[in-house]
């Protein structure tokens, strides 16, 4: 039973992801594209849930769906003068499509041909407490955590710098 549920859930989420990406690519309206991105982020969170990465799924929802997509939509709105400007040509070149197709094809072929050591999903999935303990453990991921903070600070400073007004 759980496997069937897993299977259906996976199928639905897969369609949502791929469909959302396709939608984002093919729409002519930037605003719509932004919303498609939002949808992709949410579906990805669903995939994380499926993979027993609960904390990650929540972070995904918060950061990607909540902040990133919203940020994108806001900047689009800033750069728009009129509502009509949102509509642009579709800009899809067949050469790039071909390349992407070749890439995907090769990746899939490689994945399928490889003898993966694991057949199905293993049993154990640690809970949030274990996750947290590991994250803040000095011998674990504490240092990268601090470095990540530095990176975010630098990005913050950089973004502020870039968006300042020209000197009068």
């Amino acid at each position: 039973m759980p496997s069937t549920v897993d299977g259906i859930a996976f199928a639905v989420l897969a369609v949502a992801l791929v469909g959302g990406a396709l939608g984002m690519l093919t729409t002519k309206n930037i605003m719509h594209a932004g919303f498609w991105l939002l949808e992709v982020s949410v579906a990805a969170a669903g995939v994380y849930f499926l993979l027993d990465a609960n904390y990650l799924a929540l972070v995904q929802l918060l950061v990607y769906a909540g902040a990133v997509s919203v940020l994108i939509i806001f900047s689009v709105m800033i750069t728009l003068r009129r509502r009509e400007d949102a509509v642009r040509p579709r800009d899809l070149s067949w050469q790039a499509g071909l390349l992407a197709l070749a890439f995907a094809g090769m990746m899939i072929a490689a994945i399928a041909a490889y003898a993966w050591p694991v057949a199905g999903m293993p049993a154990g999935a640690p809970d949030l407490v274990a996750f947290g303990t590991r994250l803040f453990a000095p011998h674990g991921w504490a240092l990268p955590f601090e470095i990540a903070s530095v990176v975010l600070t630098a990005a913050l400073v950089g973004a502020v710098w870039w968006s300042r007004k020209e000197d009068e």
């Binding site: 992801l17 982020s41 995939v47 899809l92 499509g97 994945i111 999935a125 994250l135 973004a159």
Partner: protein
């Protein structure tokens, strides 16, 4: 039916290729950034899938993903700031306009 590792990997590959397609084709800066985000999402899915199937107890992939998300967030913030700066300078935000490297 059991959903195996290959399924997640293939899903990730397809998603990545779609994002790649967009990044290489689209002319608007914002659209390129969005495609890059899709690619990042695909990669994260890949990482988490590996983590779940190959190292379920140490959850290495998940931690990796956390930090990848941090970096993506930083990237998108800066990227958008750049787009705004370009827009302010040239009243349009197409990547084709940035061709000073033309030989």
């Amino acid at each position: 039916m059991r959903v195996g590792l290959e399924a997640f990997l293939i899903l990730s590959a397809v998603l990545f290729s779609l994002g790649l397609f967009g990044a290489v084709s689209k002319k608007g800066a914002v659209q390129v950034l969005m495609s890059l985000e899709v690619m990042a999402v695909a990669v994260n899915i890949n990482l988490v899938a590996f983590s779940r199937f190959l190292t379920p107890l140490t959850m290495d992939g998940q931690f990796f993903t956390i930090f990848a998300m941090v970096i993506s967030a930083a990237e998108i913030g800066l990227g958008l700031a750049l787009v705004l700066a370009i827009y302010r300078r040239s009243r349009q935000s197409e990547v084709t306009g940035l061709n000073e490297l033309k030989g």
